[in-house]
């Protein structure tokens, strides 16, 4: 009996937990819809960020390569989708062509950046990726002349939603007697994608490649001495992270129906990185928690601060928008101050930290 339990796969052992999570996941869009579709969109963004954060987790958490320009790949994916499925060029390719294409192009950009720069050490790599992110953003902003490719700062509008045959994700429709709004449909699509990326992350973690990444993260010279082709393995991490960014970008484009360079600022890269670090680098549940918190907190503050100020002072004395970001920043400082390894670090990492403190 005992043996059987041990042999069972994790989801068989924890079937109750899995069922519970599934129930919550299904319930979320309907509960959120009670507060208005805006909340469903926030839930969607939370999942999109989970997706992005897990993609970045491969690069930063597993391989230990500090990437401050991750948003560049997200942007590439978003613009690939926007250009190939909007009236801007008059192209309307279906999503199942564009999403993989976006991932491939983002991956190519990742290799293009990674190949010459991955020999750089930690902080130098960080600043190079940061620069790359800025270069991409500046190009997106200015490539409207002499040939109008990206439509500059105005961005691209009227992007096609994801559509399967006649089934469009932008409209409300009734499925099995349940009425689903556009954002709710995207929610389920995003959940499916997120589960996919979680599975990839889980499977990679203890694979040969995953172990190679961790070896490189801990000590590159030793990893090399053990026969790991550090260059290729690092490049693989980079390319894989970039592809996930590309897919996320495509979905973002379709969901919003609009992209502009403004969505791909350095702040965005930093926010995604903060999700990874704040949650617990290299630990999948931690990263998910980080992504949800950092997406939800500003929104909760957005809706909470004004009434709160009114209640205390009778009027808004401080601009709620800036107060919101101020609290957000403070929260980041405090969390790191009291939980330097992140909110939910892996047990291994916690042990390592405890050891190094001795």
């Amino acid at each position: 009996m005992n043996d059987q339990v041990k042999k069972a796969l994790p989801w068989q052992r924890h079937w109750l937990g899995v069922l519970l999570i599934a129930a919550v996941l299904v319930a979320v869009p309907f509960i959120a819809a009670l507060g208005g579709q805006a909340w469903v969109r926030i839930a969607n963004f939370a999942i999109l960020y989970i997706f992005l954060a897990l993609g970045l987790n491969i690069v930063v958490g597993y391989a230990g390569l500090l990437d401050l320009g991750y948003v560049a790949f997200y942007a590439v994916g978003a613009y690939v989708y926007a250009l190939l499925a909007s009236p801007h060029f008059g192209l309307h390719l279906p999503f199942w062509v564009i999403l993989p294409l976006g991932a491939a192009i983002a991956c190519m950009f990742g290799m293009l950046l990674g190949a010459p720069t991955l020999k750089l050490r930690g902080d130098y790599l960080a600043i190079v990726t940061l620069g790359f992110g800025e270069i991409i953003r500046i190009f997106l902003n200015n490539l409207n002349a002499p040939i109008n490719v990206t439509n500059g700062a105005q961005g691209i509008t009227l992007i096609d939603p994801i559509r399967i045959g006649d089934f469009s994700f932008a409209e409300t429709s009734v499925i099995f007697g349940v009425e689903l709004s556009g954002p709710q449909k995207y929610y389920f699509l995003l959940v499916a994608l997120a589960i996919l990326v979680i599975m990839v992350n889980v499977r990679l973690q203890d694979s040969r490649i995953g172990r190679a990444w961790q070896a490189i993260r801990e000590d590159e010279v030793a990893a090399k001495a053990c026969g790991i082709n550090t260059r290729n393995i690092k490049l693989l991490a980079f390319a894989m992270g970039a592809s996930f960014g590309g897919i996320a970008g495509g979905v973002f484009s379709a969901m919003q129906g609009f992209v502009s360079p403004e969505s791909f600022s350095l702040m965005e890269s930093i926010t995604i990185l903060a999700m990874v670090v704040l949650g617990g680098m290299g630990h999948i549940p931690g990263v998910i928690l980080g992504a949800i918190l950092l997406t939800a907190l500003p929104e909760v503050l957005r809706y909470g601060i004004e009434p709160l100020q009114d209640a205390i002072f009778g009027r808004s004395i401080v601009d709620p928008e800036s107060l919101r970001m101020l609290i957000f920043g403070l929260a980041m400082v405090l969390v790191m101050r009291f939980r330097p390894a992140g909110l939910w670090p892996s047990s291994q990492r916690r042990r390592e930290l405890a050891e190094s403190e001795k």
């Binding site: 930063v60 500090l66 010459p116 720069t117 020999k119 750089l120 050490r121 930690g122 902080d123 130098y124 960080a126 600043i127 190079v128 940061l130 620069g131 790359f132 800025e134 270069i135 500046i138 190009f139 902003n141 200015n142 002349a145 002499p146 590159e220 010279v221 350095l266 930093i270 990185l273 903060a274 670090v277 704040l278 680098m281 401080v318 601009d319 800036s322 107060l323 970001m325 101020l326 957000f328 920043g329 403070l330 929260a331 980041m332 400082v333 790191m336 101050r337 330097p340 390894a341 930290l353 190094s356 403190e357």
Partner: protein
């Protein structure tokens, strides 16, 4: 030809500012290996404080140069306190934590500073009152102003002061020792905490000076100005080899000149395909190219991989 000279002059002015800010990054990095992401924000606060002081004294009938001097002094002092506080609150408690942790607190602090600035000074551009009467000089077809001259010479003066401090004083020696090996320095009786705090304080003071320069050069200020400035300055520091003081100075000047030349000539070079709004990408392209061939920056020591 006159464009070349003109762009060189503009580039040097800008480069002097970058160099001062870059020094702040590089001093902290050299000693504790931390990217102080909030440094750009310190510079911004410096500009804003100087602005407030200058505006409030503008009607007092004091000579403009004195007002400017007081503004500079107050902003330097405020930034020094800010730098010290930053280190105490956001970095010191995290010494020994994983490498990325202080990066996140730095980002958090810069958000806090930005938004505090926005609450105090508003979200609109602020016009800096011109305190120095502008004179324009023309040399060989290129023009420059006395403001530019003042910026470059003040920057040179401050940098000489810093070199003196680091190489000729006790605290400078303690700083160099800590940068080389904190543990051994501690055993030799160096108060590490004091040295690190000093690095932040001095770096912030340099940042405040740079902030006042930016304010009087462009004559505008904005609560988000620290971001791009900090980014460029950090790029300059890396370009010169981060942790290396002379490298930061050279990197700053070089970056300023490259940017100015790039903005001036990009149209010609690419047959008007790319215009001068691509100015900002030069910094990053040069950075990537330099690091590809010299992974530790132009003047950084070649560091072998640690075994």
């Amino acid at each position: 030809m006159d464009t070349l000279l003109q762009q060189l002059i503009n580039g040097l002015t800008l480069g002097a500012v970058y160099a001062l800010v870059a020094l702040g990054y590089t001093m902290v990095y050299g000693i504790i290996g931390l990217i102080n992401f909030a440094h750009g924000e310190v510079v911004m606060i410096g500009t804003m404080v100087a602005f407030t002081v200058i505006v409030s004294l503008a009607g007092s009938g004091m000579p403009p140069l004195l007002i400017l001097g007081i503004g500079l002094l107050v902003s330097v002092v405020v930034c020094m306190v800010l730098g010290w506080a930053l280190e105490r609150v956001a970095y010191r408690p995290l010494r020994g934590a994983p490498r990325l942790t202080p990066l996140i607190t730095a980002i958090g602090m810069s958000m806090v500073l930005q938004n505090v600035a926005m609450i105090i000074w508003g979200r609109n551009y602020i016009t800096f009152p011109p305190m120095i009467e502008k004179h324009i000089y023309t040399v060989g077809g290129a023009t420059f102003t006395n403001v530019q001259m003042a910026i470059v010479s003040l920057a040179a003066l401050v940098m000489l002061g810093l070199i003196y401090l680091v190489h000729r004083t006790r605290i400078g020696m303690a700083m160099r020792a800590t940068a080389q090996n904190p543990q051994v320095a501690m055993l030799m009786g160096v108060d590490i905490n004091r040295v690190i705090a000093m690095a932040f304080i001095i770096g912030s003071a340099l940042g405040a000076v740079a902030g006042c320069m930016v304010g009087s050069y462009y004559e505008i200020a904005h609560y988000q100005m620290g971001f791009m400035l900090g980014l460029k300055a950090f790029t300059a520091a890396v370009l010169g080899g981060i942790g290396n003081l002379a490298g930061a100075m050279a990197g700053g000047l070089l970056l300023g000149v490259i940017e100015a030349l790039g903005a001036g000539y990009i149209g010609q070079l690419t047959g008007d395909f790319l215009g001068s709004h691509y100015q900002d990408i030069f910094a990053f392209i040069v950075l990537i190219v330099v690091l590809m061939f010299r992974p530790s920056g132009l003047f950084g020591e070649r560091e072998g991989d640690r075994a």
